[in-house]
């Protein structure tokens, strides 16, 4: 399996959004050539910053049309600018669990245009949080990506993303890291625990993906502040060092899709 990563030209990409599709497309084309990849179809994970998502539990006897109405009510967004779609995640106990996502049409088009520019057809595009959720064994946890800028966290419950949040890390992974991380994690976890049918428990872990080593003391502090166990996700073997760990996880998640 070949893999690679490259820097994007300045100002072509910012905070998860493609600003200049031709520039990103050209960089991607060069990367494909450099790594001798000639396939023309791809699965693409895009940043959660271009979208929002919700998980709804609806009665089993609700029709698709009723669910579409419920989703629209939940996500009151401009349909001209924002596209919405939902899927059934599971059924049981008289309920249907639905995952709904709404995304910025223009931002998604910029991503697919960039891929197209590189001569590749994006057969699947999904949110990074959904791809990563597939790779994590713990059904309920918080996955923290410290390599991303800004840092990102996603709360998973029953292996389904429930909340995505990004926040700046002023001092990188240095002084005061535990205190900086504890705030966003605690507010996301507290909010989620108040939702009906939450299975997020006191032993649901915080899993950290980082490029630099996180000091054990910071991990201990974070655990003490949040009351949750904290673990660092180990860097997988045989992955080039310039491919970030969270990028690797997202790719793995794309490969683990059962449907195309």
């Amino acid at each position: 399996m070949r893999s690679g990563a490259a820097q994007l030209p300045d100002a072509s990409f910012a905070a998860g959004k493609v600003i200049d599709p031709p520039a990103v497309g050209n960089a991607l084309k060069q990367l494909l050539a450099r790594t001798e990849v000639s396939q023309t179809h791809a699965s693409v994970a895009v940043s959660d910053s271009i979208a929002t998502f919700r998980v709804l539990d609806v009665p089993l006897d609700e029709t698709d049309q009723q669910i579409t109405v419920a989703v629209a009510k939940e996500m009151t967004l401009d349909p001209e600018r924002i596209a919405t779609r939902w899927v059934t995640v599971s059924t049981g106990e008289g309920r249907r669990r639905v995952y709904a996502a709404a995304w910025d049409r223009a931002a998604l088009k910029a991503c697919t245009d960039a891929v197209k520019q590189a001569g590749v057809d994006a057969a699947v595009v999904e949110l990074k949080s959904a791809a990563i959720a597939r790779t994590v064994q713990e059904p309920s946890c918080v996955v923290l990506d410290l390599a991303a800028n800004p840092a990102e966290l996603v709360l998973l419950d029953r292996s389904t993303p429930h909340t995505w949040h990004s926040f700046p890390l002023a001092n990188g992974a240095g002084e005061g890291l535990a205190e900086t991380l504890a705030g966003p994690i605690q507010s996301v976890v507290r909010f989620h625990r108040r939702t009906p049918r939450s299975t997020f428990r006191e032993d649901s872990p915080i899993l950290i993906s980082a490029e630099q080593a996180v000091p054990q003391q910071a991990l201990n502090q974070l655990s003490a502040l949040t009351g949750l166990p904290v673990r660092v996700l180990g860097q997988p073997p045989r992955v080039p060092p310039n491919v970030r760990h969270s990028t690797y996880l997202a790719c793995l998640g794309l490969i683990m899709r059962r449907s195309s």
């Binding site: 396939q39 891929v115 999904e126 491919v243």
Partner: protein, 57 residues
Amino acid sequence: MKQRRVERVERRRALVELNLVADAKTRSARGPRGCGSLFGGILIDVAILVLAMLGLS
């Protein structure tokens, strides 16, 4: 003697699979299609490359 049929238990986790560029007709989740489809139509290395570029920095 007739053997009792062993009931199959779905052990796989229920996972979100939403394709943002899929046809709107495929709105409801389809059932799992087995391991055969794991790599079908999905090009692993391109996925990695595209992701590394678009993503997620």
